[in-house]
């Protein structure tokens, strides 16, 4: 298990601050959801946490070590990232793609080891896609591909899993499947999870802690009940909603209130 500290971080691309004065401490074993409108900085925060972007100010620490002082190979054997989608231009099979997750463990001319093959088989099984192993990645459906990518991330045997809107292009069944898999990895294996999520209800159902970003700043940080309030959501997303209680779990459940009435009132 591994914790993540984001300490007074600013970040900007070429024009203007994207993230401003971010202070977050994520403890080992937590399952944290990042919420916020498009452009609020969720993806940038995920990239900063993975070390592929460098903060303009402040520092990011993995288990107390400054991420900027760690080499990529070391980071990749502790932290895995699942992006929205991957485009792979060559015809690799699913198991070959999952094997790419073993890259940080390979030595230049050596062949893949028994450990590597074991890790790939385990990951495929864990995600429940053993039967896809020899299928070609580019011929799989969006949901299947996302599972292959999740299996690839697991083949890295990460202690921290970062996900950037992993369900954004998927149908409702696949969305739930992916999020439940991640939840299971968090409770079952103690993998720390930080996931940018666009679906507030899905986030409310499966995450212990939610962080709401607005225009590059942390606007709220707490349990789903604390973060997902009617006032908060209408302020941050500029959407009118009502927050109900999920009939089964008691989690907050956001109901969107249409501004144009499309159905007749009873």
């Amino acid at each position: 298990m591994i914790g993540l500290e984001i300490d007074r971080v600013d970040f900007s691309y070429f024009d203007g601050l994207v993230l401003e004065d971010i202070n977050l401490s994520i403890k080992a074993g937590e399952m944290v959801g990042l919420l916020g409108p498009n452009g609020s900085g969720k993806t940038t925060l995920i990239k900063l946490a993975s070390g592929i972007l460098k903060p303009a100010r402040g520092e990011i620490r993995l288990d107390g070590n400054r991420i900027s002082s760690l080499i990529r190979r070391f980071i990749a054997s502790n932290v895995a990232v699942v992006p929205q989608q991957f485009h792979i231009p060559f015809a690799f099979t699913a198991s070959e793609v999952v094997m790419l997750g073993r890259t940080p463990f390979f030595r230049a001319l050596a062949d893949e080891s028994e450990d590597d093959r074991q890790a790939v088989d385990n990951s495929l099984e864990l995600v429940g896609i053993d039967e896809l192993a020899e299928r070609r990645f580019d011929e799989l459906s969006g949901g299947e591909r996302q599972k292959v990518i999740l299996a690839m991330a697991l083949a890295q045997q990460p202690k921290l899993l970062l996900l950037d809107e992993p369900t954004v292009h998927l149908d409702i069944a696949h969305q739930m499947e992916i999020v439940e898999l991640v939840r299971g990895l968090n409770t079952g294996r103690g993998i720390t999870v930080v996931a940018a999520m666009h679906d507030l209800n899905l986030a409310a159902l499966y995450f212990d802690r939610l962080i709401l970003l607005k225009e590059g700043r942390v606007w709220a940080d707490g349990t789903p009940e604390q973060v997902l309030t009617e006032a908060g959501i209408s302020e941050v997303f500029a959407a009118s909603v009502r927050v109900e209680v999920h009939p089964l779990t008691g989690a907050p459940h956001i109901v969107v209130m249409p501004r144009v009435r499309t159905t007749k009132p009873h």
Binding site: K47, S50, I52, I71, R72, R73, I75, A76, S77, A80, V81, P83, F86, H87, I88, P89, F90, A91, F92, E96, L100, G101, T103, P104, F106, A108, L109, D111, E114, R117, D138, E139, M152, Q156
Partner: protein, 350 residues
Amino acid sequence: MKLKRRNKLILVLSLLGVCLIAALFLASAFGAVSISMPDIVKMSLNKIAIFDFPTTWTAAEETIIFQIRLPRVIGGALVGMALATAGVLFQGLLRNPMADPYIIGTSAGAALGATIAMFLPISLAFLGFGMVPIAAFIGAVGTVFLVYNLARVGGKTPIISMLLAGVVVSSLMAAIMALLITINDRLHLSLQSVYSYLLGHISVTGWEQLAVIAPLVIGGVIFARFFAFHLNALSLGEEGAAYVGVNVERDKIVILALGSLLTAAAVSISGLVGFVGLVVPHAMRLSFGPDHRLLLPAAALGGGAFVIIADLLARTVMAPAEIPVGVITAIIGAPFFLYLLRRTRKEYAF
């Protein structure tokens, strides 16, 4: 599973290795004078002092083989190995199936360098090379260096900027070339030499040149194999590769430098032989899969055999006239490429 992959590797590479050696002997046997293949094998084995076969051939034949044919055939093999390996490297790094060793300006730089060398009133020789191959080599490597630095912003060199910078720099160099060709009479520039360089023509003057090119190409092919895992990971894109532990900016420099050196080595003795660096990597990928651990050595062996055969045809089909080898590689390469593409159309998902 393990055995399956290893067996495939051994089988494919042995097969291609046999093809390469067969092509070497076949191409040595044919030409203005035909020399029997057993004789070639025997005289080669005598030469490296393994055996002492009785001499059943003439001294002239021995001279033809060792002073003319073998240097050229081996030169062809090295050109093919270098271009095919560079093609795999560039296609993998740029994630672009249309990439070839010339894509970021090596060809334009080499052509301009060679053309300038052709009219400069200087002649010097270095390690057995005249001005033209040296200038071509410098032109190719220098252009990639220029393109890389033009594309560099804020400590990173995005692939897309590199491709764009490559196109722009190539066009500029092509324009300068066109200018030089226009005023060729004032420069005393032989258009025939320029033309021959642009179409590709394997010109090895002797063993001395091969002693420089061979270590460069064979060393490069072996060194490339160290990057096989990282090239596989680079299929995920720059960010994706970084997520699985690749130091992308460093790999980019090394792979680019390696691909450019291999290409520069090839064009210095052959001019711009087209299609090899595009077609051979594709043919190998479509036949044996995209895993660079197999793809890199397979392309090197296949590329070597392909250029040997193309060059054999170039000098025999219309003998005594010689067709530029680049014409042959395109005539064989293009239809073969189309066939492969149609057979496995789904291979490339854009």
